[in-house]
């Protein structure tokens, strides 16, 4: 067990060095390669929200809606009011979380396929709202030429410098840093008592109620955090692309967020990250098959359910999957 653990630490360390140092240094002039990893990082963030709703036992196919809400919040605020990106980023998360909580109050009572269906419809509904609210969103033509982030200064000290044209490395580290923050936050949540309560809700909400857990409150906390993460992910995505359309986050994107979780493994916090990187990376590498992407995703999903229901991370840690639950946190 000890050996396995140290091996795992080494593997993790290698990945961290690759991600934070080796890759960006080697590809520092290739906007294409950096772009792929930026996309994968942001998609990982957004999927981590979906992973959290899985942990309370809800299948969430609505994360695209909240990424879109976050994206449009940033786009509209920066374009119409000239607000700074650094203000818009958290604000987008808050707006998404607020909308999520409003919708969550009625729909979180639903379970299983019913919750999945409602959230699926929500993505479509939000797309339609942005398509038709032309005054604010310019409808189907979308919002373009969204300004890049300026400098973040407190007093006279510049904490984060302004973006300079052509420097993709800037967004690379921005996305990497955001992913790190989200991961640390969720890891803390996951090992704390709150994470245990989330898992308790998944296993039996009637028992949770009867031992005095305010089930509605904790469900809303989980869903609110999920939507918050979706919102900031959408915001960063929008600014790195410099544009947003009603079709930027479609139902299929919501499906992908869920697929990343399935692919990586629902029992592992790093599951959605592994899933997002693997899929985005492999599809960039296999550009020839890209037009069959949706078909391949569908087959992949079926294959996963049949042969690898606990995700790819369960291959490496198959023995540990149980151990994690067995070992009390402390």
């Amino acid at each position: 067990m000890g050996q396995l653990k140290s091996l795992r630490t080494i593997v993790m360390f290698v990945f961290v060095v690759l991600y934070w140092v080796a890759f960006p240094l080697y590809f520092r002039n290739s906007n294409y390669h950096l772009g792929v990893v930026i996309t994968a990082s942001i998609l990982s963030c957004i999927s981590l929200g979906v992973w959290l709703t899985f942990s309370i036992g809800r299948i969430n196919i609505g994360q695209g809606a909240f990424a879109a809400i976050g994206g449009y919040t940033t786009a509209i605020l920066t374009m119409k009011l000239g607000a700074s990106f650094w203000l818009c980023l958290p604000l987008s998360g808050i707006v998404s979380a607020f909308v999520g909580l409003l919708i969550g109050i009625p729909i979180l009572r639903l379970k299983g396929v019913y919750f999945a269906m409602i959230t699926l419809c929500m993505t479509e509904a939000v797309t339609l709202v942005f398509l038709n609210a032309e005054k604010l969103t310019q409808g189907a033509s979308g919002i373009m030429n969204i300004p890049r982030p300026g400098a973040l200064t407190i007093g006279t000290i510049t904490i984060i410098p302004a973006y300079q044209a052509g420097h993709y490395l800037y967004f690379y580290y921005l996305a990497a840093f955001l992913l790190l923050l989200v991961l640390i936050g969720l890891w803390r949540l996951n090992v704390s008592r709150i994470g245990w309560i989330f898992r308790a809700l998944r296993q039996s909400d009637t028992l949770a109620l009867s031992i005095g857990i305010n089930v509605v409150k904790y469900r809303l906390i989980a869903y609110g955090i999920c939507c918050f993460i979706g919102g900031i992910g959408g915001s960063l995505f929008t600014v790195s692309m410099q544009n947003i359309f009603p079709t930027s986050f479609r139902v299929t994107d919501s499906m992908y967020f869920m697929l990343y979780c399935f692919l990586g493994g629902l029992d592992y916090l790093l599951g959605p990250v592994a899933g997002a990187f693997l899929l985005t990376g492999s599809f960039e590498a296999l550009r020839v098959v890209q037009k069959y992407q949706e078909g391949i995703y569908a087959c992949l999903m079926i294959a996963l359910m049949l042969w690898l229901p606990n995700g790819i991370l369960s291959l490496r840690f198959r023995k540990r999957a149980l151990g994690k639950e067995l070992k009390p946190e402390g």
Binding site: R188, L189, S192, R193, I194, W196, I197, R199, A200, Q203, S204, T206, L207, L209, S210, I211, G212, I213, N214, V215, I221, L322, E325, L326, P328, G330
Partner: protein, 257 residues
Amino acid sequence: MALLEVRDLTKHFGGLAAVDGLDFDVPEGEILALIGPNGAGKSTVFNLITSYLKPTRGTITFLGKNMTHLGMHEVARKGIVRTFQETNLFREMTSLQNVILAHHLRCRASDWGHFFYSRRARKDEAEFRESAGAILDYLGLSPYRDELVRNLPHGHQRALEVALGMATHPKLLLLDEPFTGMNPEETDTAIEMVKGIRNRGVTIILVEHDMRAVMGISDRIVVINFGKKIAEGKPKEIQHNEAVIEAYLGKEEDGET
């Protein structure tokens, strides 16, 4: 004043009155058994007392306060906790984790405190761990503390449900068929445990079909049939009550109790 006062409790499911004008009191420190033929409405009474269902009519007063408008977790916070007829546990966690979670009402740290692992949160966790260990000890479950609940035999799972109930420090514990599926020796041990819990100052209401257990354990018995109370009294009185005998034996095919 009784700990729990139930007055005119009525619950209609469509046209069916599952519970119909039920009145009874539970004084502090008593073990009260609620019995009756299958479908008499016993579990519905439990669901009403714990606010899992809302009554059509009537009141439930606990420590002088009306409980009927509260949510289920709020009722638990006031001190009424139940176990379920169908085994209901967090199956993918260990026994110890189950009992630690059940200490939820005794958390002093806030959610933020737990998130940042504040000093108070650490103290909470250490305290719960110790208390959970003691409860498992008391119920003879210590050897299985790190075992996943889904791997436990049925009898231990039932005992663990009682452990979860105890962990919440209830004033009133509702046990729904706690002795089901136990052999006579296991039942006798379980009876002693339930009595022990009462001696720690917990009032108990239980629904049970095992008449030997009911007669051995309860101070008082309330018998219901078709949602109405048909008898109430000490075990001796109930055994010889005409209405009760008729309810149980008077009709054909009622013998499964």
